[in-house]
Symmetry: C2
Subunit: 175 residues, 2 copies
DNA sequence: GCCCGCATGTAACTGGTTACATGATTGT
DNA sequence: ACAATCATGTAACCAGTTACATGCGGGC
């Protein structure tokens, strides 16, 4: 496939847990070609080149997949805001949580659709069980996020009603 | 607090969803001081300086907290490996999942301990409900991860027994 | 003729980590 | 004394995004 197509595939297929930008892909493909991990085939018609992985490329892929997983330092903007939620007030926090819930629901719906697609397609039978694993992860975490959001909204509502004239911006002071 | 203490606090208190390095903190504090958002008080004894947020600093904090949450592009090494799990084989994938489950269990235990701590401490009553929100999020996602891992292990075991002589490295070929 | 999607690549920039240099204080 | 921890800062480096420059080909 071409670099462009590769990026599209990553966006569409792995989009929920991986991403690459053109600035990554093209230099990477050039390097992979230099190291003999992929082969370039120039198209005569236009200036595009399609790439195909070589045997040594698949070997290298397996090597890389076997390397220890490195996780990057956590940075969850939602949780940071909620932790310092006193400064935002219950109403603003509630809005944030509702937003998060809406997105989790959107994701969950997407996963359900993907599951239907995968069940449909008879191709790639040996890859399917692995793809279902990642899908299930997404479903579990999305459902967890929704359940949490419901609890959180309830807690925030109670907080708002218990101490209505809180230190900061609440429904009344904003109107 | 000092820059050092600030980093410790971030690590210990927000460690599950936020992180900052010295390379960030010290330049940031200098800039915040320049903009009048924090005040520096030099200690006479040693070269250390303690910082205190100013009124305009808290205002700025609220401003920043109100800004839209920006999420960084996803990059989940575990899911990437599982998605391409055919290249690793069921046994290796199983190990990855078990690892993930162990860590989720470790996290969950930590959260339970923190919850006990928070319930104990009578201070900071107005911050507590917000902190509990972030804690609950961690608990939900950890439990979801554990449940998923259990399903995934079962699926992988079945996969391993159904087609024992898979294309690649499995238990037999590795011994 | 013109816009849009396909396609390739580079350059600038940014956000951040890591490693290093340095030194005071405290506890054993 | 010496090790560990507290403390400050900088420089080098890195991964990665964004934006830009460029051009082909097809559809309207």
């Amino acid at each position: 496939m071409t670099g462009y197509a590769l990026r599209e595939a990553i966006r569409e297929v792995l989009g929920h847990f991986w991403s690459e930008s053109f600035g990554q892909i093209y230099p990477a493909l050039a390097e992979l070609e230099r190291d003999g991990y992929v082969e370039r085939r120039e198209s005569a018609r236009n200036g595009s080149s399609t790439f195909r992985i070589t045997p040594s490329g698949t070997a290298q892929l397996r090597e890389l997949l076997s390397e220890p997983i490195q996780r990057d330092p956590p940075r969850n903007g939602l949780l940071l805001r909620l932790f310092l939620g006193r400064h935002l007030g219950p109403a603003a926090c509630r809005a944030l949580v509702l937003d998060a819930r809406a997105e989790a629901e959107r994701r969950l719906a997407e996963y359900v659709a993907i599951r239907a697609d995968i069940a449909q397609a008879s191709e790639m039978a040996d890859e399917r069980p692995y793809q279902l694993l990642t899908l299930a992860f997404g479903e579990h975490t999305a459902r967890a996020a929704i359940a949490w959001a419901n609890e959180a909204v309830a807690a925030l509502d109670q907080l708002d009603s218990t101490r209505p004239s809180s230190t900061h911006l609440n429904k009344e002071s904003r109107t």
